[in-house]
């Protein structure tokens, strides 16, 4: 079901998903070097002892991004089991997975076609263990 055809209020949008990281440099390296994202902006708040890094494929004005939060000196978090993953789209699945592997990315579920659908999916994990789903929609 698609949303009704009505005037879309472009000021309503999902801006970012925030994930806490235990090592900002490692995370930034993963999302940029392995997943091809760009650092869009960083914000350091020494009085509150945290640093933020907004990272994504395009500018924040038009696209959803990821906010990485590093709390000074915190090197462990409890993963829990409620948060699932962030999904990103891929145009050339086989090549992307091969390249991610070559670059040292940890593929936790290799390319798997979804039964009854036109999607192929794979899962990789980021340095903190967050799951990232790669999806290719076959046309």
């Amino acid at each position: 079901m698609q949303p009704e055809n009505k005037k879309i209020d472009h000021r309503r949008k999902i801006l970012h998903t925030m994930l806490r990281t235990t090592d900002m440099q490692k995370s930034v390296d993963f999302y940029t070097r392995i997943l091809g994202m760009k650092v869009l902006r960083t914000l350091d708040q020494p009085e509150e002892e945290y640093t933020l890094c907004f990272i994504g494929y395009e500018n924040e004005a038009d696209n959803c991004v990821i906010e990485l939060t590093y709390n000074y000196g915190v090197n462990h978090y409890e993963a829990g089991n409620s948060f699932g993953h962030i999904a990103i789209s891929v145009d050339n699945f086989k090549q992307t997975c091969e390249e991610i592997s070559t670059l040292g990315g940890n593929i936790t579920l290799p390319a798997t076609p979804l039964k009854g659908s036109n999607e192929i999916i794979a899962f990789i994990s980021d340095p903190d263990g967050y799951q990232i789903e790669l999806i290719q929609i076959l046309h």
Binding site: I14, Y57, N81, A87, N92, Q95, T96, E99
Partner: protein, 146 residues
């Protein structure tokens, strides 16, 4: 090691964030009625005993969405301390919070500017935090000239 710089292999878009929910229709009602999203599509997996609902402000080709996963046999999850929140842009977070409060939504951080401005811009974003029915935090950020 090289960089992911071959245009055909770079992933292109963040599609959605997946959250597991205890009661599907309660969550769908919250994201639609309280936050103005639309149910974009729903998939039931009888053999796997779970349902997926994709929910958002516009169609998935245009903008990121949220994937709600309801595992039929699980009604309790542990949030841990790692995952943070999803942030939504809102034209007027003050009015939004008044409305959400009337609807019984839990406001964790009342709307107002951030305590400290960003060094880079000198600006304090105006934000609020609410909780969804499963206790996930949602940040509301006042629209600015982005």
């Amino acid at each position: 090691m090289g960089n992911m710089n071959n245009k055909t292999t770079i992933p292109t878009q963040i599609l959605y964030t997946m959250l597991r929910v205890s009661e599907l229709e309660r969550s769908v009602a919250f994201y639609c009625k309280a936050l103005g999203m639309h149910e974009l599509r729903r998939e039931n997996f009888t053999e796997g005993r779970f349902t997926l609902v994709f929910i958002g402000y516009d169609n998935e080709a245009s903008t990121a969405a949220i994937e709600l996963t309801w595992n039929w046999d699980t009604d309790n999850y542990d949030h841990g301390t790692a995952y943070g929140h999803i942030a939504l842009e809102v034209a007027d977070i003050y009015a939004a919070c008044v409305r959400l409060n009337h609807m019984g939504v839990s406001i964790i951080r009342e709307p107002g500017p951030m305590t400290y401005p960003a060094d880079e811009t000198g600006h304090s974003e105006e934000i609020a935090f609410i909780k969804d029915p499963d206790g996930y935090l949602i940040e509301l950020i006042q629209t600015t000239n982005r």
